[in-house]
Amino acid sequence: QGSLAIVYDVGGRGDLSFNDMAALGGERAVRELGVRLTEVESASTADFLPNLRALARSRQHDVIVGVGFLIQDAMAQVAEEFPNQKFALIDGFVDAPNVMSISFADHEGSALVGALAAITALENGGDTVGIVLGIEIPILLRFEVGYRAGVRWAVDRYNEIHGTNKQVRVLYTYTGAFDDPARGKTAAEAMLGQGATVVYQVAGGTGLGVFEAVESAARGQGKVVGPPFAIGVDSAQDYISPGFIAVSMVKRVDNGVFEAIKRALDGTFQGGAVTLKLAEGGVAASSVEMVELFFDEAVAAGAKTPEEKAVAMAGVRAAREAVPQLAWDLLNELDSLIRSGEYVVPEALDRDTAEYWRSVLSTY
């Protein structure tokens, strides 16, 4: 009774990013809705079309989820070939009645952590934050520009509060890889070397190197908790480097996947675009509870022990405490401004727009 299929992006499971989050949603559907889950990884972009077709042809799945915007063209084609099959697309848009296109307001979530980053830097006497990204593709531009916007908003707000005229510089670099922690580490080290207090990673596996750089730098100064801090992305990554990750920009792809199969089962499935924004819980700054949730699942699955959980959670809490209260306050303030629509986070999905926002938002 009920079957869900997920076609992952080329990174596949273990990308620490939307593939893993989608899998999380799938697993939740298995648990809560009792559906059968079929997962297909793609070795290359060229596999998307045959993978989707093979699943559609079997006519066994209530909904087939494609993860990632690269799958968009293939899904458009298959949706046309199999008009009776329900599809869901994460992070892209296909204009077809049988495709539910789910996208996330990455820029809004990134703005939140940008605000936190900026204030953390200022309160620690710094004036620089960084963002390390993977390969330059449109969706990453959205993260980058959102982050910059958050930094800008927070700095302006800070100056307003304190009557100062402080500036925060945003260092950014595209590393050209999603799977090379060494590049992430070197890039982050370069940023820390230029005085960055907080570095946000939007680089999949490459981001592990960012965490490592930050933690090493802090420990090198004898610290057991930041600053400097890193910021995680996509899932609640705070536990990966407990004590040195201030917060994560959580993108609830799992909710998207879960929603898709749930609607397909209860008959409310509809084609069209669904944007899960901050207001809808599509993106969020990670909370302690979210991290705990992850651990609870991991402990249940036998992957982690309760002791590991205790140690890690202590680190996670310590990091949060080490982040200045003002940073949290402004993050929350921005959160409600965005929810209420009073503040609209700029969005860029192409190079020119991104370039425009870079110069507009630049505080230097």
Partner: protein, 384 residues
């Protein structure tokens, strides 16, 4: 002088025997591959069993996914298409004595050229496709040429130059896709090539396009070149005994350039097949994911195909089948893609050491040889 003059007829009979021996050699080669396959699949089954998967169901899926119906076969051939070409890059170069691992970069550049021409030059369909292939071939050849020239003039080893050029191509492409050839409406990829420049699916519902014929055609051309043309004859001399090349009146410089250029052409065309010969996107992705690893997989293909163009076709179909089959392995048995890599890697390692089997054979026949030797020695004493 040898007292026995060579009898024409005798010679011919012997030639026949030699040909039979060669044929037997070919069969032995095939047998080797089959044995390696069996070993790889066996190890894969062990691992899957240990990890708690149903290996029988998985292999059933592998078979169905690769050859189960007309779509599966077509998808297998579609996956094989670029691999035939990148396999030829390594195989042809190896025949000429070079360790050319530059297929990846040359293919990337070919794909870029295919986009640049295919998306911007409008022409009648056949013309557009031809032009696009030509542009990709030219780009691949031009990208391969510096490695050849560096080798010939500066003695730079091709391993180092081709690895470096692969990465240079990679970063160049990252730049080009996002800044020059970008599709403003769908910025994650380049513009799509014009409909005239696209090859459509041959069987609706599967990925195979006429690109497969292009790939096989290139392989046949390489076969002709290597074994039926004086240039290929020279290339093979270069691979086996470079000193004899000049003695034979050929120019080593010309030979190295020719080899790299032809290899580059194959690689460029491989890039083009992924752009104009693979539905539905007809564009290059910003993370280059539709040409990822094809160059390196080509090395495996060439090695399994024993660097022979026809062997490469078969090997590419084999690897393509593993790829297509892995789809159903995942769907039917829930076996992750990574498990397929274990099977794949084991098969290749098993293929590396054919002598294991001949050693085994020798071990078995040694007893026989001993007995034979003993019996001839015996008969001799009796004669005395």
């Amino acid at each position: 002088m040898d007292p026995r003059p060579v009898e024409q007829r005798e010679l011919e009979a012997l030639s026949r025997r030699e040909r039979q021996r060669q044929l037997r050699g070919t069969f032995a080669g095939l047998a080797e591959i089959v044995v390696a396959l069996v070993i790889g699949l066996f190890v894969g089954a062990l691992v899957m069993d240990g990890a708690g998967y149903d290996w029988k169901l998985a292999y059933e899926g592998l078979l169905i996914g690769a050859f189960g119906d007309q779509w599966a076969i077509a998808d297998t051939l579609a996956s094989a298409t670029p691999l035939i070409l990148t396999g030829l890059v390594f195989g042809l170069s190896a025949r000429a004595g070079y360790f050319n691992i530059g297929a990846q970069g040359q293919m990337i550049v070919g794909a870029l050229a295919a986009v640049a021409v295919g998306a911007h030059v409008s022409a009648p369909p056949v013309m557009a496709v031809t032009l696009t292939f030509l542009a990709a071939a030219l780009a691949g050849a031009l990208w391969a040429l510096p490695a050849a020239l560096l080798k010939a003039t500066r003695g730079v080893h091709e391993v180092i130059s081709t690895i470096m050029f692969n990465w240079i191509a990679h970063y160049t492409a990252l730049y080009m896709v996002f800044n020059v050839l970008n599709d403003p409406r769908s910025a994650e990829r380049t513009v799509r090539v014009l409909p005239e420049a696209r090859l459509g699916a041959i069987i609706p519902g599967a990925d195979m396009t006429a690109a497969i014929f292009v790939a096989v055609g290139v392989a046949l051309f390489m076969y002709w070149l290597l074994w039926h043309s004086p240039w290929g004859y020279e290339m093979r001399i270069a691979g086996l005994n470079p000193s004899a090349l000049r003695y034979a009146g050929a120019s080593p410089l010309w030979s190295v350039n020719l080899t790299f250029i032809l290899a580059g052409i194959a690689a460029g065309i491989a890039g083009a097949t992924q752009i104009i010969g693979r539905p539905p996107t007809y564009a290059l992705y910003g993370d280059l994911s539709n040409v990822r690893n094809l160059g390196f997989d080509g090395i495996a293909v060439a090695l399994i195909g024993r660097n022979h163009p026809l062997g490469i076709i078969l090997a590419a179909i084999f690897i393509g089948a593993m790829g297509a089959g892995s789809r159903m392995m995942q769907i039917m048995a829930g076996v992750p893609l990574d498990m397929v890599r274990i099977v794949h890697g084991t098969v290749i390692i098993a293929l590396a050491a054919p002598e294991v089997w001949s050693l085994l054979g020798k071990f078995l026949s040694r007893g026989r040889a001993r007995r034979e030797a003993a019996s001839t020695a015996h008969s001799k004493t009796v004669q005395r």
